[in-house]
Symmetry: C2
Subunit: 437 residues, 2 copies
């Protein structure tokens, strides 16, 4: 008898009919002899509709109230799912965050789970119930309802699985796993059977929207294996787990395209200590998340600093960067929101040089100009002109033969090795060179 | 500084714009120096839409889950109202039943309030907040969410006012008070400035839909005066309070029309002890609420028994009555759903004979045949053919000159006195007589 946590996304629960199907699925699992905890998202569209209603009243809703309102989406779907399971002859009970309870801090709209009490859930499971837990929500120390941020139901599910010491967690959605890249861009994109937490983290943060990034972090921390699969298709699925020897041999797992980046460059900043701090402190104070940061080598005591921010933060970032530029005695600020970020991700990069150079080569073969480069242990990202984004993904998917299983790929081209990149610093230099031509 | 409880109905909160208007109203009251507790219903249409979704899954939803789902309507409206008040510069906090807490028994879908803890609300009021409490909901001893039955927000408001020892409770809706009858039927219908709890109880149960009957009972028990008024009109209003000397002089306060009655008659029941019990026990076991019961005088050892039930219960009631008729050796069962009940209500009837006879006379003057009669201390009801319902209301409104203030009405016609009815028994006899012609 295994303890299974199943999480269902909003599109799997979009209509009463779909809810009945999900109910059958959970019930079938329970009848097989497993203990089943289900985490439900809100029915598709409900959360957005609630947000729009609040925004019709004011642009700046009180966050405590906003969370109390938003949490009703999951309250409805969990009750409906329990009703559906019971109508099929099962025994199901919905549980809201105050009933579990799921304790969080008081950071409304983006709360962190602090502790999950498991006594009530365990008792209900023991009594033969399927327990349906409302995802996305918690309660703080004053009994206020909190929410965990967009996509927070994934986090709820992983946290519950960790707290309950579940044998497996299944994230059920309308896609049947994690792919080497977006199948809408590259038809040959291949579903991965297995991928490491670290790689998924890079893919999530790069916009692949596979799993909420915090859920992956939590799964990694507690070493909970996560199976991502389709709600209504019996086959497929990708297991997200810790990196193992087999995966070490894989050079590149996937290619990600992030369309939500925009670029800010501060020109001719006097090159002296403390400059970066003066620039980025105001951005951080304004809660603007900065992704890539590139500082060029200094020429005659001046340097250019470029960074990327999410598109929705560009206007504010530009204002703050202008203020900073003035204070620092820089020449000015230019911005560009017609850019995208293309990344190749792979655990194997840790021990395989040459991935970056093969990437640059492939982009160059398609005449895609690289504007910025950044590298980490398991990814290489390039900022390119928006209009070349999808072309870049296709070139890279081909270059690394991601449509084939790792064992059957051919060796990298010899020429690529010459351009091997070994450190961030070199990459930064190269980036500046590319940008200036 | 007064402590005011304001309750807003669903049509006053139907859109974000209306919510903003209600917010201004509550805020204005708070700025006048009063402590304000607001009880909000769900936005109009929301509860019905939730019910329909559940019914798409099954005809018999688990009641615990049904209540958890239904309670979200008020959770959303309270949060939105708090958001609106805060956006106008006020300080508002929504409170759900588990946050207050409002304790009920575990009768899901129709729970009774057992206790309201006031510590949290009082603290928030003291800190200068407008407290917005979700109506219609409570929690039971196991932390399950319960609901108080349709229109339960009125009950929440009255219970809160009683627990908080409020100075006044205002029930704000889209009508500006309680009328002598439905103004859609009688154009001259007059708004009452004041009415007793007892009269409203009769009017509510007769279908006037003024206030939820349990709310009135609770207000009467705790002697909380209830002011019914229009949300968006500054004038008008009807105060519901205990009957006083002034009201004793009023003979008739209002005329009510209930279109949701249907009639069941069991013919030729052997007239012996225990017959009524054998008939009505199964109905009560099936949770069918029986309104009027008329047993005719016995003729040669046989009697006819008629009763009325809500239209939605007629099919079940008919089945049960047939079973009972068979067991009792009765001749058969006939039903009629083309009937309505017309009632005149007035505290003054207690001490004024002649109201019933004036009623019969007036109906007779319009050729309206009376099928059943029942009387209480403060009302007389007649079942008549559906097609005469509105005519009957107009005839009675005219006869008792309800469009005029009580002091300016002319004395009843002399002829009416002859037909004076003094007890239920006589009325029942009369009913049977009338029916048989």
């Amino acid at each position: 008898m295994a303890l299974v946590v199943q999480k269902y996304g909003g599109s799997s629960l979009a209509t009463p009919d779909l809810i009945k199907k999900v109910a059958s699925k959970a019930l079938a699992r329970h009848k097989k002899g497993d203990q089943v905890v289900v985490v439900a998202s809100a029915m598709k569209g409900v959360t957005d509709s609630l947000i729009n209603t609040a925004l019709e009243i004011t642009d700046l809703p009180t966050l405590r109230e906003y969370d109390s309102m938003l949490s009703t989406g999951e309250q409805v779907s969990t009750a409906l799912l329990a009703i559906a399971i019971n109508s099929l002859g099962g025994n199901a009970r919905s549980m809201l965050s105050f009933q579990v309870p799921i304790h969080t801090n008081s950071a409304f709209k983006d709360a962190r789970i602090e502790k999950i009490e498991t006594k009530n859930i365990k008792r209900l499971l023991k009594e033969g119930n399927i327990v349906i837990v409302a995802g996305f929500q918690g309660i703080d120390h004053d009994n206020n309802i909190t929410t965990l941020g967009r996509g927070g139901s994934d986090t709820s599910a992983v946290a519950l699985a960790a707290a309950l010491n579940a044998d497996v967690i299944e994230i059920c959605s309308d896609v049947d796993g994690i792919y080497t890249t977006d199948p809408h861009i590259v038809e040959k994109a291949r579903r991965l059977d297995k991928i490491s937490y670290e790689e998924v983290l890079e893919l999530s943060s790069l916009g692949a929207k596979v799993l909420q990034i915090r859920a992956v972090e939590m799964a990694m921390k507690h070493e909970v294996p996560v199976l991502c699969l389709s709600t209504f298709s019996p086959t497929g699925g990708t297991l997200v787990t810790k990196g193992d020897m087999q995966m070490e041999q894989i050079t590149v797992s996937g290619v990600a395209l992030d369309k939500n980046e925009s670029k800010v460059t501060i020109i001719n900043v006097p090159d002296k200590p403390g400059v970066a701090a003066k620039l980025f402190k105001p951005l951080s104070d304004a809660n603007i998340s900065v992704d890539m940061i590139i500082q060029n080598v200094s020429e005659a005591g001046y340097t250019d600093i470029s960074f990327t921010v999410r598109k929705e933060d560009l206007a504010r970032a530009k204002r703050l960067a202008r203020d900073a530029a003035e204070n620092l005695g820089a020449k000015g600020v230019v911005t560009d929101d017609k850019v995208v970020k293309v990344s190749v991700v792979g655990l194997g990069m840790r021990s395989h040089a040459g991935v970056a150079s093969r990437m640059f080569e492939a982009l160059s073969s398609g005449n895609v100009n690289i504007q910025m480069i950044s590298t980490s242990e398991i990814k290489v990202s390039c900022v390119v002109d928006k209009k070349y984004g999808e072309l870049a993904v296709r070139l890279l998917h081909d270059e690394f033969e991601l449509h084939k299983k790792p064992g059957s790929r051919k060796a990298p081209k010899k020429t690529a090795k010459k351009a091997g990149v070994s450190s961030k610093k070199t990459a930064a230099k190269k980036a500046s060179g590319t940008k200036k031509k």
